[in-house]
């Protein structure tokens, strides 16, 4: 009995410690956004009164509004475009599957083995030749279609009742009509999951925009953050405020839609 009590105490202590470590850096970031650089370095853990000053210093130094808008626009375009392209393909691979399409799907899945680092130079050269440097189009193109999303929608199409397809055909709905009016509304949760993953990935994407966004006006939020520590002296209050602004949207999405978020991660398990 004492042994189990002890084990239980140890377990809860461990879990609370892990939870604290997981939350702490973010908490520290939000608190530090309200403190002066000196207080941040001194290890102050209470909210301060320097938030407004940090904000003014930040907007004087960097085009935060522009970068936020760029990040937002790129991520929205990327999400809508790739959901459209990948969902219809995933649906097509499942509903009309035959030997040829099954084979093609297996070939496409091989693309998941190709690391971005291995193709970034040819991609950069392609985008350069098309005169698309510093554009949203260039940002979106390489991840417009991903084997992962196609696979996700193909899996969800597997659970789409065949009866609905048959009866819609009898009602005279076209094949495209069935996809648009039957599949999409039924599969809202799959779209939500896929949308969150794609939006987060695009919002957080760093290496690709680092290469292609070559003028200051096209810079996204992660690039702006990274530039804030480039100088010799870093203003930590200002930096933490900038990071907070960039992290806040994804943390809110995460807290509101945690279930879809987790689902998106584990589709490959089932």
């Amino acid at each position: 009995m004492i042994k189990t009590r002890l084990a239980s105490i140890l377990k809860y202590t461990f879990l609370f410690a892990v939870a604290l470590i997981s939350i702490f850096p973010l908490l520290w970031m939000f608190i530090s956004a309200t403190n002066t650089s000196g207080d941040v370095l001194g290890g102050r853990l209470l909210p301060g009164t320097n938030l407004v000053a940090n904000y003014q210093a930040l907007i004087a130094r960097a085009e935060v509004g522009q970068a936020l808008w760029n990040s937002f626009r790129n991520a929205i375009v990327a999400t809508i475009a790739s959901l459209a392209v990948c969902s219809i393909a995933g649906y097509g691979f499942e509903v009309y599957h035959d030997r040829g399409k099954d084979f093609l799907m297996r070939v496409l899945l091989l693309s998941m083995m190709i690391p971005f680092a291995a193709i970034m130079i040819p991609l950069f050269m392609m985008v350069g030749r098309l005169n698309l440097l510093s554009t949203t189009t260039a940002f979106v193109l390489p991840t417009l279609a991903t084997a992962f999303l196609i696979f996700l929608f193909r899996q969800s199409a597997r659970y789409f009742p065949k009866d609905i397809i048959e009866s819609s055909r009898l009602d005279g709905l076209s094949e495209l009509g069935i996809f648009l009016r039957m599949y999409i509304p039924v599969m809202r949760s799959t779209y939500a999951t896929a949308g969150i993953i794609t939006f987060m990935a695009a919002w957080n994407n760093y290496l690709w925009p680092l290469i292609i966004m070559q003028n200051a006006e096209s810079r996204t939020m992660p690039l702006l953050l990274s530039n804030l520590v480039a100088g010799y002296v870093t203003d930590y209050g200002l930096l933490m405020l900038a990071i907070s602004i960039s992290v806040l949207p994804t943390v809110i999405i995460f807290l509101l839609l945690q279930r879809s978020f987790a689902e998106g991660i584990v589709v490959s398990v089932k």
Binding site: Y96, A118, Y206, L255
Partner: protein, 297 residues
Amino acid sequence: MVVKARSNLRLETRQSVIGWAFVIPAALLIFVFYFYPIARALVLSFQTGIGANMQFAGLANYRRLLSDNVFKTSLVNVLTFLALQVPVMLTLALALAYMLHDKRLRFRAFFRTAIFLPCATSLVSYSLIFRSMFSLDGFVNALLINLDLITQPINWLANPWTAKIVIVLALTWRWTGYNMIFYLAALQNIDSSIFEAAVIDGAGALSRFFRIAVPMLKPIILLTAIISTNGTLQLFDETYNITNGGPANATISISQYIYRLSFQYSPRFSYAAAISFVVFVLVAVLAMIQMKVGDER
């Protein structure tokens, strides 16, 4: 009868064609933005020169790799991160998932959300947070001095080994919850009656963990190992933003070296392409080894 069969056949052909029309755009995009570039990287790696003046150079780029110390350092760094970080993180994630799987656990939703939360931060953001916390006059040193654990601040990011440790800590912080989610989902798929039967047979929590959970989760452990290996081999955002590869290349990753060769000094695309191709082969081979090992056991 014959007419009906024929019209059925025509209907099937029609549907198959429509199916192709649905899948072709996405398939084309993947060929253009994955398969073509990897083939292009291979061709490029056998060439030398700049812009329109490319010449066939045989294996020159690959020969140069063998005597390139920065490349070797970056490879060793990445493998060091892999060896130090991935086993610890996956074990931790598995243990946490096993504890959180227990429906009687109190504060279960809180623990889950808290441990999963780091996944909501972008790689650049959390890298900069860790960089700030571990700077010479940063929070971690202030804390350790206040607790009387050290008297002099540690220059974490300026010493080769402590810099590596900071990268490993940062990676573990960001990705443990992510892997835990995989294990939690997989544990839910295990029939709970198996665990109940084990309890009746007198198996303790630890032996249920090692005898039931771990063997049954083997496929998913393998999957997460592959994902982590793949991610570590391609590491960029963290080393670039926490240490910028320093001190003296002690934390430079392969991706960062490729980036440096291509975009920071005078561009050497063909040589960088050779390194790119090595990364591709490494990722493919390691994934295959892990699959093979998973099959045998």
